[in-house]
């Protein structure tokens, strides 16, 4: 089969070394996935709890309330942390990424609507949690976010398989109903044996990291079971939280490796980020970025410290309220009438 035409990128340059951009892409994507995991975990946890208990105890209410209180912050953080990997992926693989985006353009744009709905559902769930139908909103949250994950996964898979682009070019992006089943079949990725062997050969750091990640997954089963059986021993809880958190790094490295292997195929244009990109590092902006990243994290840490070092005071008492006038003021209509504006 002749190679698929890949959009030209030869006039561009990389403003940093590929290894650095890949490392930043993996690191920021890891942070993003952690927050997405927190959202999905918390909402599914809340759904299950809510469907299970008939009459919530005070403890139930407190726990639900504390989880719900963190949700808006988690969603905001997940979105913001998602921006950085999106940036690095565009600079490394933009010509593949954009093409895949365009082929699933309506779905890609629909993910914004899902995001907005998910975000609004978080707030509505928080407001209506103790009402009978409050659970509906919290059910909507994982539904929306999983839909986004599904669309993004499709995009990622399509981007590394240009051999399927022509199918999309033939009409799927115009949403012809008879072609819809093709879309549903995606992501149709079955990793070729040679790539899998390459990954599992320990010949690359990604391969080693992947093996460690798989080991973590197996260990996690053990620690999780222990955590359930011995809830008083917090070490199991800590371990079963940390193992997947760090195991995810190995999986993301393996993902990068697979992407490279896929794009290196002749049918995909034989793309190699180390060989094909010209690097013109923008040193000063890069240094400023690094310094500001550290400074930014320190500032966030400082603000969190400010909050933690002060104990929460009692909710605002009635004594604080008299600053303001009563709800309706007799002089209000007169005042408005006298307003020349």
């Amino acid at each position: 089969m002749n190679p698929v035409p890949i959009p030209d990128y030869s006039s561009f340059f990389l403003p940093a070394w590929p290894w650095l951009l890949m490392a930043l892409s993996t690191f920021t994507f890891w942070l993003h996935l952690l927050m997405v995991g927190v959202i999905l975990g918390c909402t599914i946890f809340l759904c299950v709890r809510r469907l299970r208990y008939k009459t919530p105890t005070d403890l139930d209410r407190q726990l639900d309330s504390r989880i719900l209180k963190t949700m808006p912050v988690s969603v905001s953080l997940a979105i913001t942390l998602g921006i950085a990997p999106l940036l690095f992926i565009q600079v490394l693989y933009g010509h593949y990424f954009y093409t895949a985006n365009i082929f699933i353009a309506w779905f890609w744009m629909a993910s914004l609507a899902f995001l907005l709905l998910g975000f609004v559902a978080v707030y509505l769930a928080k407001l209506t949690w103790h009402q009978r139908w409050g659970v509906l909103f919290i059910l909507l949250v994982p539904l929306m976010f999983v839909s986004i994950v599904y669309i993004f996964t499709n995009n990622a898979v399509l981007a590394i398989q240009p051999e399927h682009w022509l199918e999309f070019q033939r009409g799927l992006r115009h949403l012809h109903v008879h072609d819809a089943e093709n879309y549903i079949l995606l992501p149709r990725i079955s990793i070729p044996a040679d790539m899998l062997r390459h990954l599992a050969s320990f010949s690359t750091p990604a391969g080693v990291a992947w093996m460690i990640a798989l080991l973590f997954v197996v260990l996690n089963l053990f620690t999780a079971v222990n955590g359930i059986l011995k809830p008083q021993e917090t070490k199991w809880l800590v371990l079963s939280t940390l193992l997947p958190v760090f195991g995810m790094i190995g999986m993301l490295m393996a993902r990068q490796q697979l992407r490279s292997d896929y794009l290196a195929r002749e049918v995909a244009g034989g793309f190699d980020i180390y060989r094909d990109w010209t690097v013109q590092p923008q040193i000063l902006p890069m240094i400023i970025f690094a310094v500001l990243l550290v400074a930014g994290l320190l500032v966030i840490g400082f603000m969190v410290y400010l909050v933690l070092k002060t104990r929460p005071s009692a909710p605002p008492s009635a004594a604080a309220e008299p600053v303001l006038a009563p709800v309706s003021t007799p002089s209000l209509p007169e005042h408005r009438d006298s307003n020349p504006s």
């Binding site: 035409p5 913001t80 303001l324």
Partner: protein, 501 residues
């Protein structure tokens, strides 16, 4: 131009960007202005012992979170998504040139997000001074997001550094590009606009709430009125902006495109008048503003902001990145090499814009996947001229022109003859200064002319929706008439092109 095209019937991809971007601009300006106003107001309230002002901020700081971090975050991502679908070439270029500017902006946005949530959740927890400090951290972070994004946005109008894409890879001066000629006036204009939007929202909020007595309301309105005052500077700031803009771009504002001139005049007049209103009525004569007036002023200010964004975008035409990339993704440096003489399919522009070819459009004419992948001129020759014209239209016109709807091509070429169309395409950038040049050979011009002519031909049953969606073939269309077969060297015929409606 070598990416696939995203077809948004009736609305057009550029309008999708505009809608998302305008909403985002309002929200982003609000987020920045609210930070400045909140921090200044809280500091002022603490020093002058004005608990009402502090209470007002406390009552409404939730709006900042909801607007900035739901609306702002979603529309911000939305701009990125939509520009990468409509103009992947320009998005890719900007990402490569300004990767670190965007990455730095991301750090500031992260700090801004953390500061906003801490600010909102800790009114009762932090001491007033510490809370005020968090407010100022928010201001700095928010302002620095503007500092970097403003550089990228203004770069598109006044790059400030040469972008020579004929040298591979392109040479680029990051700092000259970021702090380009229109950078500072644009920063000033956006800051003024941010403060004004927030001041007017405060006036609406304080009037809409029944929580405040008339005296308290007047106090808040007069305090907010101070933030409208900088609007008086809009005229000199706009003058500075236009003085720094490329000379050709200001041509549209000076009457070259009457819609833009009027929008610009409205935007400037409305902003300045609101500024003077604030000075004379609110601050000098100590009048208050009621809910209806506040709402009216807010809507006028938002329309003025939207208009000025429209003007700023329009000034760039025919470029996306001034003097470098045209609005359809064509690089200026590519034009000469893509203009080909003759009519051979081998030299058709479709060779360079392969993803605008849709084999299924060829209908009964055999056009296989292999023909697509290898670019087979013999197979292309058998395809109807109107179908080839549609593919060329998709590659070069669709990003700005729908068939029907926004900037619709059908009414634009109504009653044009194929000959007029071919002649206009030959000198397109000279016939209309805000259009990019047409690239391709004479056959490409004729094919595109055939397609455009078929749009308004009553004898041909070509439904708008089918043409607009690019789903079906134009089997009923006829080849372009022989009288259009003019030599590429034939000079343009102004008497015909001037007949355009």
């Amino acid at each position: 131009m070598d990416y696939p095209v995203w077809n948004v019937p009736y609305l057009g991809g550029s309008m999708v960007i505009a809608v998302v971007a305008i909403i985002h601009v309002f929200i982003a300006h609000f987020a920045i202005g609210a930070g400045i106003v909140n921090a200044l107001t809280e500091t002022f309230a603490l020093r002058r012992n004005e608990p009402v002002l502090r209470q007002f901020l406390r009552d409404h700081s939730r709006l900042l979170i909801i607007l900035a971090f739901i609306g702002g975050a979603v529309t911000g991502v939305g701009i990125w998504f939509s520009i990468s679908l409509v103009s992947p070439d320009a998005t890719g270029l900007l990402i490569h040139l300004f990767l670190w500017a965007w990455a730095i902006e991301w750090i500031f946005f992260l700090v801004e997000l953390a500061a906003a949530y801490i600010y909102y959740y800790t009114w009762d927890r932090l001491s007033p001074a510490a809370h005020c400090l968090v407010g100022w951290i928010y201001v700095l972070a928010a302002l620095f997001t503007l500092v970097f994004i403003n550089g990228i946005v203004t770069f598109m109008l006044s790059p400030g550094t040469s972008l020579d894409s004929s040298v591979r890879p392109m040479q680029f001066d990051f700092w000259a590009g970021l702090f380009n000629p229109t950078y500072w006036p644009s920063l000033l204009l956006r800051t003024i606009s941010s403060l004004a939007i927030v001041a007017l929202i405060i006036m609406v909020l304080v009037n809409a709430s029944r929580r405040y007595s008339p005296q308290q309301r007047d106090l808040v309105v007069r305090h907010a009125g101070k933030f409208l005052l900088p609007l008086i500077l809009m005229i000199p700031a706009a003058g500075w902006f236009f003085a720094a803009s490329p000379e050709e771009s200001v041509f549209y504002i000076k009457g070259g495109a009457i819609a833009m001139t009027l929008l610009f005049a409205f935007s400037l007049a409305a902003s300045t008048l609101i500024g003077f209103f604030s000075y004379l009525a609110i601050l000098i004569r100590k009048r208050s503003v009621n809910l209806e007036t506040a709402l009216l002023l807010l809507f006028i200010a938002l329309i003025a902001t939207g208009s000025s964004e429209f003007v700023r975008e329009g000034m760039r035409k025919p470029y996306l990145i001034w003097d470098h990339m045209y609005s359809n993704g064509l690089l200026k440096s590519q034009v000469a090499s893509l203009q080909k003489p003759g009519k051979k399919f081998d030299t058709s522009i479709l060779r360079s814009t392969r993803w605008s070819i849709r084999p299924q459009d060829a209908g009964e004419v055999p056009f296989t996947d292999e023909d697509f992948l290898t670019y087979n001129p013999a197979a292309l020759e058998k395809v109807k001229d109107t179908v080839r014209g549609r593919w060329i239209y998709d590659a070069q016109c669709l990003r700005c022109h729908c068939i029907d709807g926004y900037n619709g091509i059908r009414p634009l070429v109504y009653q044009w003859t194929p000959k007029m169309l071919v002649n206009a395409l030959r000198e397109l950038d000279k016939v209309k200064a805000f259009m990019p040049p047409f690239v391709g050979n004479q056959r490409d011009r004729e094919d595109l002319a055939a397609f455009m002519h078929a749009l308004n031909d009553p004898d041909k049953k070509t439904s708008p929706s089918c043409l607009g969606s690019g789903c079906h073939t134009l089997d009923t269309a006829q080849p372009v008439r022989p009288d259009t077969e003019t030599s590429p060297d034939q000079p343009n015929q102004p008497e015909e092109t001037e007949d355009q409606p």
